[in-house]
Symmetry: C2
Subunit: 500 residues, 2 copies
Amino acid sequence: MVKTAITPTKEQNYPEWYQQVIVAAGMADNSPVRGCMVIKPWGYAIWELIQKKLDYELKETGHLNAYFPLLIPLSLLEKEASHVEGFAKECAVVTHYRLIQDKSGKLIPDGKLEEPYIIRPTSETIIGETMAKWVNSYRDLPILINQWANIMRWEMRTRMFIRTSEFLWQEGHTVHETEIEAQEETLKILEIYTKLVEDFLGIPVIQGIKPCFERFPGAVNTYCIEAMMQDKKALQAGTSHFLGQNFSKAAGINFTNRTGNIETAWTTSWGVTTRLIGGVIMVHGDNDGLVLPPTIAPYQIVIIPIYRDGEEIENINIYCENIKLKLSKIMFNNEPIRVFFDKKDMRGGDKVWQWIKKGVPIRLEVGPRDVKNSTVSIGKRTLNTNEKLTLNVDIFVDQIIENLNNIQQTITEKARKFLDSNIFELHTFDEFKNFFSEENNISSGFVKCYAIDDSIIESYIKPLKVTARCIPLSEYNVNNGKCIFTGKDTKHKMIFAKSY
Amino acid sequence: MVKTAITPTKEQNYPEWYQQVIVAAGMADNSPVRGCMVIKPWGYAIWELIQKKLDYELKETGHLNAYFPLLIPLSLLEKEASHVEGFAKECAVVTHYRLIQDKSGKLIPDGKLEEPYIIRPTSETIIGETMAKWVNSYRDLPILINQWANIMRWEMRTRMFIRTSEFLWQEGHTVHETEIEAQEETLKILEIYTKLVEDFLGIPVIQGIKPCFERFPGAVNTYCIEAMMQDKKALQAGTSHFLGQNFSKAAGINFTNRTGNIETAWTTSWGVTTRLIGGVIMVHGDNDGLVLPPTIAPYQIVIIPIYRDGEEIENINIYCENIKLKLSKIMFNNEPIRVFFDKKDMRGGDKVWQWIKKGVPIRLEVGPRDVKNSTVSIGKRTLNTNEKLTLNVDIFVDQIIENLNNIQQTITEKARKFLDSNIFELHTFDEFKNFFSEENNISSGFVKCYAIDDSIIESYIKPLKVTARCIPLSEYNVNNGKCIFTGKDTKHKMIFAKSY
């Protein structure tokens, strides 16, 4: 058996493997706050890269960033009935505004608020209330706003990055003159999310529409992208909601239309979260730790000096700094290549393993012989650890873009094949039950089958601990078949899976 | 009397002028949450520019971004006694984790937490607790962490950007092996803040040390930069705290030193906030609204088409798009020039005034005659509104960098002169009392005088509603004089002012 850097392996215990990869890569840490984590620099740097890319795309499509209050008055939350129902069970409530010492010297809450606040679980209500003041005429529309923020949902079962009580996200909120414009916006964002997740994170997704019983509380329609993890479970990677006039009516977002009459506006909202980082780990990671596509690697290349005695250090340092300088001047994916020269005081072998576990795409090991021969010893995260290639340094530099592109492609294609080969089309409920019955650590995959868009099917799948992920856009309203659960006519095929 | 865009003028009513500039420039809005504001896109874009610049400088000096929980358990806060005392009076307390409906259908808090949490008023305690786990040996040091986050301090008297219950900031937290390294870090950050505020925001500051009674709760020493607003009041623009071993001891940040013994580490913390945006308004704004230094203008140039009938539109559009394209390719301050071509459906004159109020440095008005003659009509925010210059478009483009640099310099020098000419050296307490007595809307300036670093002087200045801002670094421990309040010997001169 090959020794791996991560114990247990993902085949042995997938959830525990996931936790251990996070620890080994230094991505996050537990915190003293229930259900909340500390995002460590390596994890946060990945989030910053996701932010930068998505922020650019959102600005290119006319969205402006703004910031709205963290706290939401209860009375605002209550304005949209199904919305409050969806979030009341899991929200942190602020009831006091100071602390005093009791007789024993213990700090206790004091200064009771007349009306409690909740920490935003999402911001439709407070943003709607604000936008109602901004909109008077059709000339003020569309309003295209995005916010980068922290969110709190009091989750009982948490898992780092995937489901935590506090998480980071962006939430877009837009107001439109017509229904069709709002719907177009919803789909435009779904497209931006798809490109972000597929091209930038290397994670293939299925674009779809949530069945009615899985919609965002208060939405008319929720669009989503669904990804498959290596245990063949589903992860919702992003959602885009067409809110119709539900929140506009609740908040009073009205405007004078082109014929001089008052109309209610149409809104959308959409978001992706730090959960995407969990997706990256679960889709690309292996038994030696994290594997990062070059696009989101905080360092795409790490240079590791290997030497025995002190005399060699100076020459190696100069040689390495020079390689670093050359590489940093080359553009990959519209950014200078991110190179780190790791000079820290640690054994070369330990250093190599540290960067393997952190998922850095390319490692350069440089010893005295490399300096003498103008070579570098190249290790790739996508190859076996001991598979190293020694190459002339100039040739290596000349080929670096091709090299990084190849790695990106290798990682992406592997994930694509995995998804494609693990979707199974089933035709009866017996097949369906059978498919999902024999699972333990690793699930059997995604099922695609005829199903009606009705909450009645929950009664069939819930006992099997299976969730309805989405009606793929490609399967929406274009089919003619019988629902495998109810036997009723349906125009949709739906995707089902075990899920996070 | 000249009609101004902002009523009242700053001479008539400075605080109200400030509010009206914010409204007129579309920078922020009131919110339904007590003491909290909505940062609108124009205000947030300035914050993003500040973030980008500072984030770059912090990363260049080895700091890494991370993210820590929003909530702090009471028990953690209590570990540093003077720290909790400083913040207990103004913190939002989370006591419940869900909502239920009471008999009347009203939502009420439910699920009482065993231990309440407070929303972070600052993160020394929770970050210290976490870092204690990260530090084992001197080899793990220094740890240089920064966090961009939202903060909550329950303020009773609020003012947009300057003092709000929730605000945005960055907070740096570092751990060091030795006292001297931690002190050097504190001063290095003070230098970075000074450059940011002076060179980037065009606001001159005084670098100083806070008197002992104005220190951050729990700090050994607080360094600060102090700025002067146009009403001659002081605004603290940034602080950098040397925390000694106070928080390390409370959190147990210990390490094995170079001789194999266990030692307690030395820490620092430091931050700047969205308050800086308030400073920009108060230092540079005039009676027509906001005035932005080009470095932090979301758009440095706005192109405004001026036409009467429809036929002219197409040619003007092509002409303007072409100017925009040329300008966008030019680098100013290491970034492409930010140009906006304002095509929206609004009268040209209204548009011009909108951009004046928003403080855009350069406006280009383009009419049919300009297209014919290859010219542009140039309006600068630092000149009178009707002072326009018509110039050949290529010459304008060729000179744009010089032009932007001149505007930056003009704005900065004006603020520098204002600060320098409004600091007065006084020698007796009578002079001091007299100086601060005759004020109403506009304060008389800053006073510099001999003073001892002792809380006893609060009893002299508090009745005058004057605050001790700092001992300027240049006046620290280098003087020999008598404190004008107590008559005691002192080695310091101190700055006093009315303040925000």
